[in-house]
């Protein structure tokens, strides 16, 4: 019996053809129109080679033919916020699609079972779908002599990741912690935390940074791989271009105020009430690549800047270690304290006095010589 396709399982759930096509449309948007993979890569029949305008059709065709994708979801040094984010994906159907339909074979937080049972189930899934499953990693991984800071079932996160990565078709590092080390890696990085990419060198890794990442981005990337069998186009930090191709600043609804030089200076001044630019309150939007300003959160309801809070830059590496959330993005990361400035000033004065004294002696000598 051929494996059940996504469409098959949706039909079982009572989803009509009309609703199915609607879902395909939502997904086309979620994956980003520009990230359609070339057909030869995705292994789909060439009859599907359609223009971008027909991408919905292409997704529908893929969903009708591609087998379901097993997903193994691991959590390490995390807060489960990324999983929480996924459960709040735009269209409930879309979240369901990933959570239920695409077969999440293993997810500790969502699993009904616990303890050895769950570990057992994971091992079975990994064996059954070896080389086929998507490995999703949430949270950073403590390494080296600090590896013991995160263990599951008596084994370190490092070991678990190594084992799970070996059989994965692709890895998705979800959230800033998994993608770049996140909060655990912030100075002074007490657990010697590392990102997935720091540890896994021989697999395709997609980073979906954010604290948390936008749920549509999570769904979009997983379904993209599920349907086309290849990863979407990535930027230099392995982030999908479809979601991380533009800065928050580029798409920000307050951008005109930036250009006009109208800024909120405190959180309760006229500028803040008028919805002016938050750049001077430390907004990191101009250097933050994410889709917050376009897709927004909670079904497109809002995003931080719209809700009058500057962007923290949570989809960028080391965003915790910047100049400060409420310091301008241009502000120096290390600010010399009064002691350092005082010491430098004192050093300058002392050097100046020393040179001055030597010069004075030289002048005195010159005067004596003249007489």
């Amino acid at each position: 019996m051929p494996e059940e396709s996504v469409y098959d399982s949706l039909q079982k759930e009572g989803v009509s053809r009309r609703d199915f096509l609607k879902l395909c449309g939502v997904m086309a948007g979620a994956m980003g129109m520009t990230s359609m993979p070339p057909l030869e890569k995705s292994g789909l029949p060439s009859s599907l080679d359609v223009t971008e305008a027909k991408s919905v059709e292409r997704i529908a065709k893929a969903m009708e033919t591609q087998p379901r994708l097993p997903v193994i979801w691991l959590e390490f040094q995390d807060c489960t916020g990324c999983s929480e984010s996924l459960t709040r994906a735009n269209a409930p159907t879309l979240g369901n699609l990933v959570l239920n339909t695409l077969t999440i074979e293993h997810h500790e937080a969502l699993s009904a079972a616990a303890g050895f049972q769950v570990e057992e189930a994971k091992q079975q899934a990994m064996e059954k779908y070896a080389g086929q499953y998507i490995l999703v990693v949430e949270g950073s991984i403590p390494t080296g002599e600090h590896a013991a800071y995160c263990t599951v079932g008596g084994r370190t996160a490092e070991m678990i990741l190594e084992e799970a990565a070996a059989g994965a078709a692709a890895i998705i590092a979800i959230g800033n912690c998994a993608a770049f080390g996140g909060l655990p890696k912030a100075k002074p990085n007490p657990t010697n935390a590392a990102s997935v990419l720091d540890l896994v060198k021989d697999k395709a890794v997609v980073n979906l940074p954010g604290c948390p990442p936008i749920p549509e981005a999570i769904v979009g990337v997983i379904t993209h791989f599920a349907l086309f069998g290849v990863l979407p186009e990535l930027d230099k930090l392995n982030r999908p271009m479809a979601f991380y191709g533009k800065t928050v600043h580029d798409r920000c609804l307050r951008r005109p105020f930036y250009e006009a030089g109208k800024f909120a200076l405190t959180f309760d001044d006229e500028g803040a009430r008028e919805g002016w630019c938050l750049f001077k309150l430390g907004c990191k939007g101009p250097t933050t690549y994410n889709a917050c300003a376009s897709i927004r959160w909670d079904s497109g309801l809002s995003f931080p800047v719209q809700s009058n809070h500057p962007c923290l830059g949570c989809s960028e590496p080391d965003f915790w270690d910047g100049p400060g959330f409420y310091q301008g993005l241009s502000a120096p990361i290390n600010r010399p304290n009064a002691t350092a400035v005082g010491a430098a000033a004192a050093a300058g004065v002392v050097a100046g006095v020393a040179a001055g004294a030597a010069n004075k002696a030289k002048k005195k000598q010159a005067n004596e010589k003249e007489e």
């Binding site: 040179a355 010069n359 030289k362 002048k363 000598q365 010159a366 005067n367 010589k369 003249e370």
Partner: protein, 424 residues
């Protein structure tokens, strides 16, 4: 007399005042356009910034860390005899220390003082042009670089008194004002002496000349030697002290006024016991107070063409007597007096000051530079050029002869004296 001595003087004389200005220079080169020698010849070495280069190098090499690094890296070389000879040519032959560059400098660097500083070092090292050194020696030996010995001085004064029928009080103790003429006037423009005597007598001034303090010209100042400058100034101050005067008036001589008015007290504090002023200031004062019976519009009536006034760098720009000549000329020639452009503080130097006229080798560029003045005067269409500096006047007379011009060159005092209404 070696490079070592020059460097020694640079070290000795470079204080914060000089250093801060050397540090302020951005090497923008704008001062070049202010220099009449550069403008006239287009030789980039005549840019004031380049003339000061020697002092800057000496300062950096001796006093600064970056200067020492530059030496170590070979970006800069130690200052040699050849350098000093070269900069001697640049500074004595192609600079009149007119200080116009200081006005052009966007940083406001007082380049004139720095250029004088370069001369000090060159003088200490013995890198003074031969002609200038000879003149200094003459002043040391005979009391005057123009050969105005005791006898010559007495003869000339007697002759002026006789010829112009004017009284010149000599060595009057207790006089208010001591007037000190320059040997240029005594030897070449005796009319100036007669004119000044007539004016002071007409105004009823209690004045005198001194037989010891009789040469206001100071070739040590041209040369840049503090020792010589001081020695020549001391002769003057001693003479003034002997006669017990209150005021010293420098006649139509620029650098002498600069030395006595603006530098003497730094070397000889007793200079501050006297009020030191220039004859232009005195003329302004007398005319302003109505103490001279002048004929207004005298020169308009003569109908001898347009009159213009040449601003001397040491008397006008560096001396401060800018208004007085204008007041006088607007009274005596309200119609025919016309200003050259640029004028006053912005005026272009005659090209002969700062001792340049005394150096034979500088003649070609001195005349080249004078072409700028010819252009200026011709533009205003003047037939008479008045000025209050005999050194400028010497340069003008020389230039008029060299270029065969038909201008009348005259002194301001003489113009005032000629316009006096004789009281019978």
């Amino acid at each position: 007399m070696t490079t070592q001595d020059a460097m020694n003087t640079f070290v000795k004389d470079t204080g914060g005042w000089v250093a801060s200005q050397l540090e302020a220079c951005t090497r923008c080169g704008i001062c070049a356009d202010a220099c009449h020698f550069y403008t006239a010849t287009g030789n980039p070495e005549y840019a004031p910034v380049w003339k000061v280069e020697l002092l800057r190098r000496a300062y950096e090499q001796q006093f600064t860390f970056s200067g020492k690094i530059k030496l170590a890296l070979g970006i800069d070389k130690k200052i040699t005899d050849a350098d000093l000879n070269h900069w001697s040519d640049l500074n004595y032959q192609a600079c009149t220390v007119c200080n116009k560059c200081s006005i052009a400098c966007p940083m406001g660097i007082d380049l004139g003082s720095l250029l004088a500083g370069v001369r000090s070092g060159l003088a200490a090292g013995g890198f003074v042009p031969e002609d200038l050194a000879k003149a200094v020696q003459l002043q040391l030996d005979e009391g005057s670089p123009l050969g105005m010995t005791d006898e010559v001085w007495e003869d000339r004064l007697e002759w002026v008194e006789d010829d112009w029928e004017v009284d010149i009080p000599i060595d009057v103790e207790g006089a208010d004002t001591l007037v000190i003429f320059s040997s240029i006037e005594v030897m070449k423009f005796p009319t100036n002496i007669a004119a000044i005597a007539q004016i002071l007598n007409a105004a009823g001034e209690n004045w005198t000349v001194s037989s010891t303090a009789r040469e206001v010209v100071n070739f040590g100042f041209y040369e840049g030697s503090e020792e010589h400058t001081k020695q020549f100034l001391k002769t003057l101050l001693d003479g003034a002290k002997e006669l017990g005067v209150k005021r010293i008036v420098v006649t139509e001589c620029g650098h002498a006024y600069d030395a006595l008015r603006w530098h003497a007290a730094h070397m000889l504090p007793e200079a501050n016991n006297f009020e030191i002023t220039h004859i232009t200031g005195v003329l302004g004062e007398l005319v302003g107070a109505g103490r001279l019976n002048l004929k207004p519009g005298f020169y308009d009536e003569l109908d001898a063409g347009t009159i213009t006034f040449h601003d001397a760098c040491k008397i006008q720009r560096k001396g401060g007597h800018i208004k007085e000549p204008r007041e006088i000329l607007n009274l005596l020639a309200p119609e025919s007096f016309k200003e050259m452009t640029p004028n006053q503080e912005q005026a272009i130097c005659c090209g002969g000051g700062g001792g340049v006229i005394a150096i034979k080798d500088a003649d070609p560029i001195r005349f080249k530079s004078f072409e700028l003045k010819i252009d200026q005067v011709n533009k205003v269409g003047a037939k008479t050029v008045a000025m209050s500096c005999s050194n400028c006047r010497l340069q003008y007379v020389d230039g008029v002869g060299h270029f065969d011009l038909d201008w009348k060159v005259t002194g301001l005092s003489q113009m005032v004296a000629d316009a006096l209404i004789e009281e019978e």
